[in-house]
Symmetry: C2
Subunit: 304 residues, 2 copies
């Protein structure tokens, strides 16, 4: 009788990696505090250190390891650079001049505690800080200038016009309008998918992965990015505000979602399909990555 | 009789370089438009293309040339990356949630035309865009990965917590308080000086200048940065809102300025001293740069 391979312990992975990422985020905030005046450091720390799944940094670390990188603290530092971008985007999304949200993850948003101007400025400080912190971490990982440069380029592409900010703009413009599935996919590929994908690719670059492997990580990222967003829409549609710890703003704003477009059952089926396509794309490149495959299934099974 | 060297034609330099910078900014906006949705491109274009002295890009190009760089369009592209950061900072400064300014250079500010959310997002898009555009320009200039990486690092340092955003925070915190000359120098070295200095150093890096020369450019930048700000305070104190095309907000906000600290005459003397110190620092490194020396004198002689 062949023994079964041990079941992959995803929960342990998420818990352990998250703990390391939290430590790296602490280090990043200490470094930020060397230069950032205290009045901006407070909202920045609040935004960076007040929880979250840390899914992007975990993707980065897991991709790095799948590509043969040896686990060292610097890879968590690198992964934290991505979370700085994510944290800034949440700070700015929640500002009164944007979505005007008072709660995030069940906690008061930074601007309700530290004021709008200080929070806005602190968020702005995180953008260049993310690039500088990524460069520092790349050095510590022994990446050469070519790879460091690629990492900072990936990070800025994902954060900018062709990525997160561009997607947020499409999201804003889509309010109250009917978006078909192509338009919705494009929006979310930019708004959420770009940074998720960059997390994986940056992990790969840090581990000196081949271009073929990086292309595989990119396809994988695209798939789980869509699976992630469809699942977000499903959770928004099926959970109530109290469970989420935030307002179900998309419903209130009359936005197109995968659930409004396809209905709940079809949306659930699509989320699974995207995750499976992602896993298939990765297997096609020969990367042996049970942890990444497990993360793809987590994306569709998770709660908020 | 030794013939006099021809007088340096600073006005022609400013006019010609500015025209080239404008063309580069047009190219940068076209590139931005490849990815940025039109609703964000409009406020971004308005902010980037609605005039200004283009002093930072001109410093970059002139420093590059002083260090032996051959004038090619790509150096203007590189210089435009710095102006994208400057443009974003003005967009965000003028937002209702920040200084709430309706006019800038006598023209309506972007948020009055395109709304606060779109303007804020467009400004956010310019930050990573500046890094990406600088990397593109570095490639076109034939800079190797090490220099490209140094350029993007300089740009982000100047834009961030230890530079512009940090200085803006100190400025905000200084409102209604007495700042001594050390505190005022620190504030302005970060808020204005860091990006001016980075402009020079980036030009030097692009021209493959030695570390000694880069250090000279940095000292020069520190001096003209302070001269620039003292002169700003002098102009604010002596000109009226109608001439400036903007509100003399610092006076209204009861901020410490070099004029309120030292009086007008002493401030004028200090501006000249800083400019002279800057020129001396540059001469000490053996860089033959009559254009840079002329720009240092322009800093204290200019109108807004």
């Amino acid at each position: 009788m062949t023994p079964e391979p041990p079941a992959f312990d995803l929960e342990a992975l998420l818990r352990d990696e998250r703990a390391e990422v939290e430590r790296a985020l602490q280090r990043a905030c200490e470094w930020l505090g060397e230069e950032l005046p205290d009045e901006l450091l407070q909202p920045a720390r609040h935004a960076v250190l007040s929880g979250g799944k840390r899914f992007r940094p975990i993707l980065c670390v897991v991709a790095y390891r799948a590509c043969g990188g040896a686990t060292v603290p610097a890879v968590y530092d690198l992964s934290a650079a991505i979370e700085l971008i994510h944290a800034y985007s949440l700070m700015h999304d929640d500002l009164p001049c944007m979505d005007d949200a008072a709660l995030r993850r069940g906690q008061p948003t930074p601007h309700t505690l530290f004021g709008e101007a200080a929070t806005a400025r602190a968020g702005l400080a995180l953008i260049p800080a993310a690039s500088l912190w990524a460069l520092r971490a790349s050095d510590a990982l022994g990446a050469d200038d070519a790879r460091s440069r690629k990492i900072v380029s990936q990070l800025n592409r994902a954060a900018g016009a062709g990525g997160m900010v561009g997607g947020q703009a499409l999201d804003l413009l889509g309010e109250g309008k009917y978006l078909d599935s192509n338009a919705l996919n494009r929006l979310h590929s930019m708004k959420t998918g770009a940074l998720l994908t960059a997390s994986l690719v940056i992990g790969g670059i840090a581990a000196a992965a081949s271009d073929t492997t990086l292309a595989g990580l990119e396809s994988f990222g695209r798939g789980i990015g869509l699976a992630f967003q469809v699942t977000d829409d499903i959770l928004d549609a099926t959970e109530i505000a109290a469970d989420l710890g935030k307002h179900p703003s998309d419903g209130l704003l009359d936005k197109s979602t995968y659930v409004s477009l396809f209905g709940l059952d079809e949306a659930i089926a699509r989320a699974r399909e995207y995750a499976e396509e992602a896993a298939a794309a990765l297997r096609g490149t020969g990367v042996d990555a049970p942890a990444l495959i497990a993360l793809a299934s987590y994306v569709v099974k998770r709660k908020k």
